[in-house]
C-alpha cells in the first residue's frame, strides 16, 4: 500500500476513534445510573407490592411484637427491664434493621438469578456500552433507594408508636440501610455464582436469614443466649446493625470501640460483597 492511502486510512481511524470515545464517554461515567434507571422502571411494575410491604410490615410487626409481646414482657419484668428501656423501644430498631434485610433478601436473590439466567437481561445490557461492574453498581443503587423508602416509612411508624426515645433516632435509618446492603451485597455475590437454582435460594431464606433474625439480638439481647450460640450474633450483620441502631434510638450503653467495630464490620462486608459481585459478573458476562 502506498503512503497517502495509509494516511487516509489512519485519518479515518482516528475519526472513528474520536467518535466512539465521545459516544461511550457518558456511559463510562454514568452507566451505573442508567442501569439503576432500568431497575426503577422494573420496580414500577411491582410498585404496589413494594409500598404495601413497606407500610404493612411495620404495622404488623410493631402491633404484634411491640404492643402485644411487649405488654407481656413489660408486665412481667417492668418498663425498663430490657437493657434499661421498654420492650417496644428495645425491639423497634431491630425490626427496622430486619426490614432492610427483608428488602435485601428479595432484591438480591431472584432478580439476580433472573438477570443472569431466566431472563438474561444482564447479557443484553453488557452488549451495549455498559460494563459488568456498572450492572452491579446500578442494582445496588436501585435497591438502596427502595430500602431507604421502606426504612423511612418504618421509622415514621416507630415515631407514631412512640418507640424512639432518643433524639438521634433518625440515624437508625441509614444504619439499617448499610446493614441491608452489607448483607445484600454478599447474597448477590453468592447468587451470581449459581448456574441454576435448585433450591439454594430457598435454603438461604430458611437457614441463613431466618436463624440470623432469631439469633441477632432482635427479640432478646445476645447475652441472654448461652455463650456457644453468641457467635452467631457476632458474625451477623444484623446484630451489628441492630446494636448500632439502638445506640442512636435510645442510647444503648456500649463501649465506643464496640460501636466502631459495628461500623467497620458492616463496611467491610459491604466492600467485600460489592467487589466480589462485580468480579463474578465480569467473569460471567465476558466469557
Amino acid at each position: 500500500m502506498s503512503g497517502p492511502t495509509n494516511d487516509i486510512s489512519d485519518d479515518m481511524r482516528s475519526q472513528t476513534l474520536a467518535a466512539a470515545v465521545a459516544a461511550a464517554a457518558r456511559t463510562r461515567r454514568y452507566g451505573s445510573w442508567y442501569v439503576a434507571e432500568h431497575r426503577f422502571r422494573v420496580m414500577r411494575s411491582y410498585a404496589q407490592t413494594v409500598l404495601f410491604t413497606a407500610v404493612g410490615s411495620p404495622l404488623v410487626y410493631l402491633y404484634a411484637m411491640g404492643v402485644g409481646l411487649a405488654s407481656l414482657v413489660d408486665n412481667n419484668l417492668g418498663d425498663d427491664a430490657v437493657t434499661g428501656v421498654s420492650y417496644l423501644a428495645f425491639l423497634a430498631p431491630a425490626l427496622l434493621a430486619s426490614s432492610a434485610i427483608a428488602v435485601a433478601s428479595e432484591e438480591f436473590t431472584y432478580p439476580i438469578m433472573l438477570g443472569f439466567k431466566w431472563n438474561p437481561t444482564f447479557f443484553g445490557m453488557n452488549a451495549s456500552s455498559i460494563q459488568p461492574g456498572q450492572i452491579i453498581n446500578g442494582i445496588i443503587i436501585s435497591v438502596a433507594v427502595r430500602m431507604l423508602v421502606t426504612c423511612t416509612i418504618f421509622y415514621v411508624f416507630m415515631l407514631v408508636f412512640g418507640a424512639v426515645p432518643g433524639r438521634l433516632g433518625f440515624v437508625a435509618v441509614p444504619v439499617a440501610l448499610v446493614t441491608g446492603l452489607a448483607f445484600g451485597a454478599l447474597v448477590m455475590a453468592y447468587t451470581a455464582t449459581l448456574k441454576d437454582d435448585t433450591g439454594q435460594l430457598a435454603m438461604v431464606q430458611r437457614f441463613v436469614i431466618l436463624p440470623m433474625t432469631l439469633f441477632s439480638g432482635t427479640f432478646f439481647p445476645l447475652d441472654v443466649l448461652p455463650p456457644y450460640l453468641q457467635w452467631i450474633g457476632w458474625i451477623s450483620p444484623l446484630w451489628h446493625g441492630t446494636e448500632l441502631s439502638r445506640v442512636f434510638a435510645y442510647g444503648l450503653s456500649e463501649p465506643i470501640w464496640l460501636s466502631l467495630v459495628h461500623v467497620l464490620y458492616l463496611a467491610a462486608l459491604l466492600a467485600i460483597g460489592w467487589v466480589w459481585a462485580r468480579r463474578l459478573a465480569t467473569r460471567r458476562l465476558n466469557t
Binding site: 456511559t27 443484553g124 452488549a127 465476558n286
Partner: protein, 318 residues
C-alpha cells in the same frame, strides 16, 4: 478497498477444561468485512460462529490472534466499540418485566442518549419493526417473529455502524422469516454493515454479499454465495431415491457407471443419492437409459448446502 470495519487475523478462542486439553472453539479464523458489506458466517451448530461474534461484539476476550473492530482493539476499547454496534443475540434477552416500548427506552439510555431523543428514535423503530400497535404490549405476548423484530429495533436504537446478528431467524416460521429478511434487506440498502451467522443456506444466499463457511472453529472457504457454489459444486444437482433397502446397492452402480460414475461427482447420503452435474435432466435420462428407475427424482439448482457437504462431508443441519 476502503479500510475494513472488522478485521480478524488468526483469531483463537479456547476454554480451559478440567483434567483435559483446552477446548478450542475458534481455531485461527481470519477475514475482513468492508463498510456497508453484508457478511456471513455459515456453519453448523458448534462451529464457533457465536464465539466469534462475541469476540467481535467486545464481550469475550480472545485467547490469541488479532482483532480489530472499527480500527479499535476490543481488549482496550470495549465500551467504545459497543457504542457503535447493534447486537441481536441468539437468545432473546428483552426484559420481560417491561413493556415493548420501554425495552427500547431503557436500552437507548445505555448509550448515554438523551431521553427525548431515545423516545423519538423508539417510535421510529417501532414503526420500522412493524410493532407500532404493540408499543404498550407485554413482551411475552409477542410472537417469536415479533420478539426478534423488537430485538432488532433495540439493536438499532444507537444508530449502529455495524449490526451483529446471531442466527436471526432460527426458530421462526417461514412467513416471519421473510418479514425479517425484508427488514434486514432495507438496512443493507441503507448502508448498514451486517455481520450474521446462520446455519440456513437460503438465509446466507438471500442476505450475504460474501461469507465464510466455518466448521470446527476453522474457515473452510470464503467467497460470495454464487462464487462458492461455482467453485465447490456444479450448476445443478439431481437427487434420486431408491428406497432405504436399495440405496446402498444402487449407489455402487451409480458411482462406478461408465468408469467415473454419473455427473461430475456423486454423493451418497443414507436416504438419497446426489448427482452433481451441468444438467440434472440429462443425468436422469442417462440413468433411466441404464435401467435405473428411482422412486423419486428431483433436479434443483445447486446451493450452499452442497458446498458445505462437499467441504466437510456432512450436512449443515444434522
Amino acid at each position: 478497498m476502503p479500510a475494513p470495519v472488522i478485521a480478524t487475523q488468526n483469531l483463537v478462542k479456547s476454554y480451559p477444561v478440567k483434567n483435559s486439553k483446552d477446548f478450542v472453539a475458534v481455531d485461527g479464523i481470519s477475514f475482513e468485512v468492508a463498510p456497508g458489506e453484508s457478511f456471513g458466517l455459515l456453519g453448523p451448530n458448534g462451529a464457533g460462529k457465536s464465539t466469534t461474534m462475541r469476540m467481535i461484539g467486545a464481550v469475550s476476550t480472545r485467547t490469541s490472534g488479532d482483532l480489530d473492530v472499527l480500527g479499535l482493539d476490543p481488549n482496550r476499547y470495549g465500551p467504545e466499540i459497543r457504542s457503535q454496534l447493534g447486537v441481536v443475540p441468539q437468545e432473546n434477552n428483552l426484559d420481560l418485566e417491561l413493556k415493548v416500548r420501554e425495552n427500547l427506552l431503557v436500552y437507548g439510555r445505555y448509550f448515554g442518549l438523551p431521553r427525548a431523543r431515545v423516545a423519538r428514535r423508539a417510535d421510529e423503530l417501532l414503526e420500522f419493526a412493524q410493532l407500532a400497535d404493540k408499543a404498550g404490549a407485554k413482551v411475552d405476548d409477542l410472537s417469536g417473529g415479533m420478539k426478534r423484530r423488537l430485538t432488532i429495533a433495540r439493536a438499532l436504537i444507537n444508530d449502529p455502524r455495524i449490526l451483529l446478528l446471531d442466527e436471526p431467524t432460527t426458530g421462526l416460521d417461514p412467513q416471519a422469516r421473510h418479514i425479517l429478511w425484508d427488514r434486514l434487506f432495507r438496512l443493507k440498502e441503507q448502508g448498514t454493515t451486517l455481520l450474521l451467522t446462520t446455519h440456513y443456506m437460503d438465509e446466507a444466499e438471500q442476505l450475504c454479499d460474501r461469507l465464510v463457511v466455518v466448521d470446527k472453529g476453522r474457515i473452510m472457504a470464503e467467497g460470495s454465495p454464487a462464487d462458492l457454489i461455482r467453485r465447490y459444486s456444479s450448476r445443478e444437482v439431481l437427487e434420486v431415491r431408491f428406497g432405504s433397502t436399495q440405496n446402498a446397492e444402487v449407489a455402487d452402480r451409480i458411482q462406478s457407471f461408465g468408469g467415473s460414475g454419473f455427473g461430475e461427482r456423486v454423493d451418497v447420503l443414507p436416504d438419497r443419492i446426489l448427482v452433481y452435474s451441468e444438467s440434472g435432466e440429462n443425468e436422469l435420462e442417462r440413468m433411466t437409459a441404464a435401467g435405473l428407475h428411482p422412486i423419486t427424482s428431483l433436479v434443483r439448482r445447486s446451493s450452499l448446502e452442497d458446498v458445505f457437504l462437499r467441504l466437510t462431508g456432512r450436512n449443515l443441519i444434522e
